[in-house]
């Protein structure tokens, strides 16, 4: 669940851009950093190798307006896409509120897209989160390239849940904002709607005892302290 | 804590002092020497003495006095904090220094409890 801070009137959500290597996750963050107007700009942190492959993660905090007096902050992360960096992908997923799955539309990458989706399912399961219920949108990227898979086929292969999806050419900024807006909306609209057990710890171990405290839900906009 | 050590430095014969935690890391120091070395070494000594006392089924260590040829090293245990180390000249009034150390360690203990 997103973090809700009554003292500073802030709601913060952690969004992770997931997908196979070189699909355009970092490009999404770079374009958001460059193009989205009105965001409170800070630096984009990239921990990359010499060849600009993401080594650890990219991180971009953005503030996207206010809802009923609460500042809405998003922490955007990417994961490294290379198969052998799974440990890093797993740790970046800790406490995730919403996922943007970036699909490389090239036909040669179809299997990699499917494999990484399976990898996402497994990594979420380790935090006792379910791919079938976590807020997620799909971005079919690189629509400008030749030899891409038609959207209908991608939909069948990648999107059995019928999630919101967007065509994108991230390097040109096409589809980047729409994707962010969709995942932001989806994630925030989940506040207060519990769908599954949340683990106490970020780590995998431990009993699942975190969800129901037996206390009544309180309105986010009521000021009394407990 | 620094003030306590400074006051201790005013006792006749005391050259310097420091407080070191159980892992040998200096917490505060008032010593014109390689304090990291002194801290690490003193904790090693304290640990050996403690082990020895345990073998003798003795109570916990309160204070130890080491007397090299050129001076003296006083080691005073402060529960929940670590060890107070005081270095003195060779010819000093040991009783007086013991009293001063006892009072200093009480002050530090009180400070720790107030944290």
């Amino acid at each position: 669940m997103p973090t809700i801070d009554y003292a500073n009137k802030e709601i913060s959500c952690k969004i992770v851009y997931y997908g196979p290597g070189l699909c355009g996750k970092t490009t999404n963050l770079q374009l958001i950093h460059r193009d989205v107007p009105g965001i409170n700009k800070t630096n984009l942190v990239s921990l990359a190798t010499e060849k600009d492959r993401t080594l650890f993660f990219d991180f971009l905090p953005v503030t996207l307006g206010e809802i009923k007096g609460f500042k809405i902050r998003f922490q955007l992360y990417t994961v490294p896409g290379q198969v052998y960096y799974n440990a890093t992908r797993k740790l970046v997923l800790s406490g995730v509120d919403g996922i943007v799955y970036v699909v490389d539309s090239q036909r040669s990458k179809l299997q990699e897209n499917l494999d990484m989706m399976q990898n996402l399912r497994e990594n979420l399961a380790e935090y006792r989160m379910d791919l079938a219920t976590i807020p997620m949108v799909l971005q079919y990227n690189k629509r400008d390239l030749p030899g891409i898979v038609p959207v209908e086929e991608l939909q069948r292969a990648m999107n059995p849940r019928g999630l919101p999806w967007f065509e994108a050419v991230a390097v040109q900024g096409i589809g980047v904002k729409e994707t962010l807006k969709a995942i932001a909306t989806l994630t925030l609209s989940r506040i207060g709607k519990r769908t599954q057990a949340a683990p106490r710890d970020g780590a995998a171990a431990g009993p699942s005892n975190a969800t129901d405290t037996g206390q009544p839900k309180r309105s986010i906009f009521r000021k009394t302290n407990p | 804590m620094k003030k306590v050590l400074q006051e201790l430095g005013e006792v006749e014969g005391i050259v310097g002092s420091l407080i070191v935690d159980a892992d040998g890391i200096p917490i505060v120091e008032c010593l014109d020497a390689d304090s990291e070395l002194v801290a690490a070494t003193c904790v090693q000594i304290v640990n050996s003495v403690r082990d020895a006392l345990a073998k003798l089924e003795e109570d916990r260590l309160v204070q130890a006095l080491i007397e090299p040829a050129e001076g003296k090293i006083f080691l005073r245990e402060i529960p929940d904090v670590g060890t107070l180390v005081a270095v003195s000249e060779k010819n000093v009034n040991v009783g007086l220094i013991r009293l001063a150390l006892s009072s200093a360690s009480e002050k530090i203990r009180a400070y720790r409890e107030a944290l």
């Binding site: 973090t3 952690k14 800070t42 650890f56 807020p135 932001a184 609209s189 405290t213 | 890391i25």
Partner: protein, 168 residues
């Protein structure tokens, strides 16, 4: 719902801030943060104006998680404290409870021993408050998806996704 979200009330944050403020004062450290293991900064005190605490939180949480893998290699479940020493500035990352890190930056005016001592002294009280924070009840919905989406219209400019990208 997902992972490490937290609901935190004014009074709880005030108490946390006062405790970590006390920690700074007593240890002569520069800045202290409470950071979730998922990288979210929960509270910050001290000289934070020149530091991007969001970035610091995210990177520190990443470094801590990475160190967990290192710990496992040498037969520890995880390290309870990490300490990075620089020429002038240093940082201590202390695992307060299974989901929270206490991060303290400091310089030559104090020692790692002093920071450790005071950290230990305030850890118990911080853990108690955090436990209460993590037990806070869930909140109600903040709005319909339409209301939320319309809030973002101003930020993103246009509201309608472009060609062929609507939900089927």
């Amino acid at each position: 719902m997902g992972g490490g979200g937290v609901v935190i009330y004014d009074e709880q944050l005030t108490r946390i801030n006062s405790l970590i403020g006390h920690l700074l004062k007593e240890s002569d450290a520069k800045c202290a943060l409470l950071v979730g293991k998922d990288g979210r900064t929960i509270a910050r005190q001290g000289f934070t104006r020149t530091i991007d605490t969001d970035q610091l939180g995210a990177l520190v949480a990443g470094a801590f998680s990475a160190s967990k893998a290192v710990a496992e290699l040498i037969g520890e479940p995880e390290f309870s404290t990490l300490f990075h020493q620089g020429k002038h500035e240093s940082i201590q990352i202390h695992l307060l409870d299974p989901r929270t890190l206490l991060v303290v930056t400091f310089d030559e005016r104090t020692t790692v021993g002093m920071v450790r001592l005071v950290t230990k002294a305030v850890s118990g009280s911080l853990r108690e408050i955090l436990q209460a924070v993590y037990d806070n009840p869930d909140v109600e919905e903040i709005g319909t998806p339409e209301e939320i989406a319309s809030t973002f219209d101003g930020v993103f400019g246009d509201s309608e996704p472009k060609g062929g990208s609507k939900q089927p």
